[in-house]
């Protein structure tokens, strides 16, 4: 139906000021929607990344304290076979302390296998001084611990176990994961080193798992649980450990969705009310068109098209404006010299916004369209 579209465009263009104003109004609403939506999304992503990014999202431990896991290899290979699983690593972990002249500092010695070391915790990437572990006598320590102990690369680190064994290690490198609890207490060794330090033999203390979709961690945990002897082993996942955070994120998402819905609704109402006025303004024209034989359906299509055209124009302008706002925000909202969020545009979000705004506009056009449907040309023709 080309004619109703042409008439719609002409009607909109003939009232330029009115059209411009409504497009501007809707654009601003859409830009706020895009800006707030993308901002909250990336803030949440950042927060989740910080919480679970460089750590396992599912962990298998002994359900009894200080008991190690002996036949862990079959568990690792069966967990590895799940689609949801990304990496599976193992760790031998125990508390220890570092003796100093004026007392001792508690630390956590973590013997990690290669997968846990690099793929799960990303330690090699986070070393900012020194190098990775090359031999059994070497360890990595965190930035805060190195500051506290005043120990640096190449120094000797005297580690004493609760059982009283003392071994001196060489500090091979210092890492910074940006998580205070880890950077301040971890002494990382390779798996064998920790196992022999604590007399674990071949056994480990935990099996640590990352997943492709962090929000599916609980589902994987449940699957793994079903596989294991739960009297002896327990499976935890990050979601149950961070229930409060998730709650907060969820209510943030909810309020975000409410904002989005309210904006879309106001866009639809604005378009519907403008076009309802247009039906009155264009009464004469409609009457003439109908007298000349335009069908009722085609005549009402004019208003649906007007809604769609407004929606297309406003969402194009609004989305550009919103992205501009977001870009400005990443450039200028930089406390401490670093941007709060990255400028990341999610195409799916943009596409969704586009589709929602345009279809809301079209639907808004249905209200004036139905009013125009009833208009009888004789009522217009009779008027002097």
């Amino acid at each position: 139906m080309v004619l109703p579209l042409r008439i719609a465009a002409r009607f909109l263009l003939s009232g330029k000021a009115q059209t411009l104003l409504i497009v501007l109004g809707i654009s601003i609403a859409v830009s706020v929607q895009v800006f707030v939506g993308l901002l909250i999304d990336s803030l949440q992503e950042g927060l989740i990344e910080q919480t679970v990014g460089n750590s396992p999202q599912v962990t298998i431990r002994s359900s009894v304290e200080n008991v190690t896991i002996s036949r862990w290899e079959p568990i690792v290979s069966s967990v590895d076979s799940y689609n949801a699983t990304r990496y599976v690593g193992v760790a031998a972990t125990s508390n220890a302390f570092i003796s100093k002249s004026n007392g001792s500092v508690p630390v956590v010695v973590r013997g990690l296998d290669g997968v846990a070391m690099d793929s799960i915790y990303g330690l090699s990437r986070s070393i900012y001084a020194g190098d990775t572990i090359a031999s059994a006598g070497e360890v990595l320590i965190g930035r805060i611990l190195s500051d506290n102990l005043d120990v640096t690369v190449g120094d000797r680190l005297p580690v004493t176990t609760p059982a009283g064994t003392r071994v001196d290690y060489r500090v091979a490198g210092i890492f910074d994961l940006g998580v205070g609890a880890i950077d301040g207490s971890w002494v990382v060794t390779n798996l064998r080193t920790a196992q022999s330090l604590f007399g674990f033999g071949d056994r480990v203390t935990s099996i640590e798992i990352t997943v492709d979709d962090v929000f599916a961690a609980d589902a994987l945990a449940a699957d793994v649980s079903a596989l294991l002897d739960t009297d002896r082993l327990e499976v935890t996942n990050w979601k149950e450990e961070n229930a409060q955070l998730l709650n907060a994120l969820e209510s943030q998402s909810l309020s975000n969705n409410i904002i989005q819905a309210v904006i879309i609704l106001s866009v639809a109402v604005a378009i519907a009310s403008l076009l309802s006025i247009t039906v009155l303004q264009k009464r004469r024209q409609l009457g003439i068109l109908k007298a000349m034989g335009i069908k009722d359906g085609s005549a009402s299509l004019i208003f649906v098209y007007q809604g769609l055209l407004l929606g297309v124009a406003a969402s194009a302008v609004g989305i550009s404006l919103g992205l501009g706002l977001l870009y400005a925000f990443t450039q200028f909202a930089t406390p401490g010299g670093e941007s709060i969020i990255d400028f990341a545009v999610e195409p799916a979000f943009i596409l969704r916004t586009l589709i929602i705004v345009i279809s809301a506009s079209g639907i808004a056009g249905l209200i004036p369209a139905s009013r125009s449907l009833r208009l009888n040309p004789i009522d217009v023709i009779r008027e002097g």
Partner: protein, 228 residues
């Protein structure tokens, strides 16, 4: 020749309160290819009659046949189609769509018919613009034309589909006598060339006298019907 328009016992009552009866049992038929005028005082019911003939209005009682079709039973879309194909209108008060140029207004009935304007129809439009002396305003928006120019463009529009019937309600109300006389000559040409049936409302007796048939209406009743 057949009757291209036929009204049988047409009554029209405008629902009140108070109800006003405007047409009283009008029996009237126009022959295909005839050139007719309707005269009568202001308020006598001429426009009401024209709107009923044009299927825009429905009679309170009686029957209307257009091009052999009984219009009472036709739905709104069928009536719209019938109007688009067979009737050209020149309305008493309403002329053009102000958002469109003269030529776009003229082509509107053609485009409403669902076709893209062919070069034939464009040539026909050009010829009519020429005949009516408004070629200069062809591309001008209707909102920026004088009343007389608008009226002439409206006349061109009524002819664009080469309809079998042209209903013109005071088509030269805004024209000076020279242009007015010229317009009737053009109508007459088209009537002879294409066999178009014309029904023209006018209050100007001299114009009416140049038509083949004068129908006079007074207070909603036919009081005079002169064939010449």
């Amino acid at each position: 020749m057949g009757q291209v328009i036929e009204l049988r016992h047409v009554d029209k009552v405008y629902k009140g309160p108070p109800d006003v009866q405007v047409l009283f049992s009008v029996d009237l038929a126009f022959e295909e290819g005839s050139f007719n005028s309707i005269v009568g005082e202001s308020g006598s019911g001429k426009s009401t009659l024209m709107n009923i003939i044009g299927t825009l209005d429905t009679p309170t009682d009686g029957e209307v046949f257009i091009a052999g079709q009984r219009t009472r039973r036709l739905g709104r879309n069928r009536l719209a189609e019938l109007r688009n194909r067979t009737i050209g209108f020149v309305f008493q008060f309403h002329y053009l769509l102000p958002e469109f140029s003269a030529i776009d207004n003229v082509l509107m009935p053609y485009v409403i018919g669902g076709k893209r304007p062919s070069s034939d129809v464009r040539e026909w439009a050009d010829e009519l613009f020429d005949i009516m002396g408004v070629s200069a305003v062809k591309r001008k928006p209707a909102s920026r034309m004088s009343g007389g120019q608008q009226q002439r463009v409206a006349i061109i529009r009524s002819l664009i589909n080469k309809p079998s019937i042209v209903l013109a309600d005071e088509p030269t109300g805004n024209l000076d006598s020279v242009n007015s006389a010229a317009t009737y000559e053009r109508f007459r040409d088209i009537n002879q060339r294409y066999g178009t049936t014309f029904v023209i409302v006018t209050h100007d007796r001299r114009i009416a006298e140049q038509t083949d048939r004068i129908v006079e209406i007074r207070d909603g009743r036919l009081v005079l019907d002169i064939n010449r």
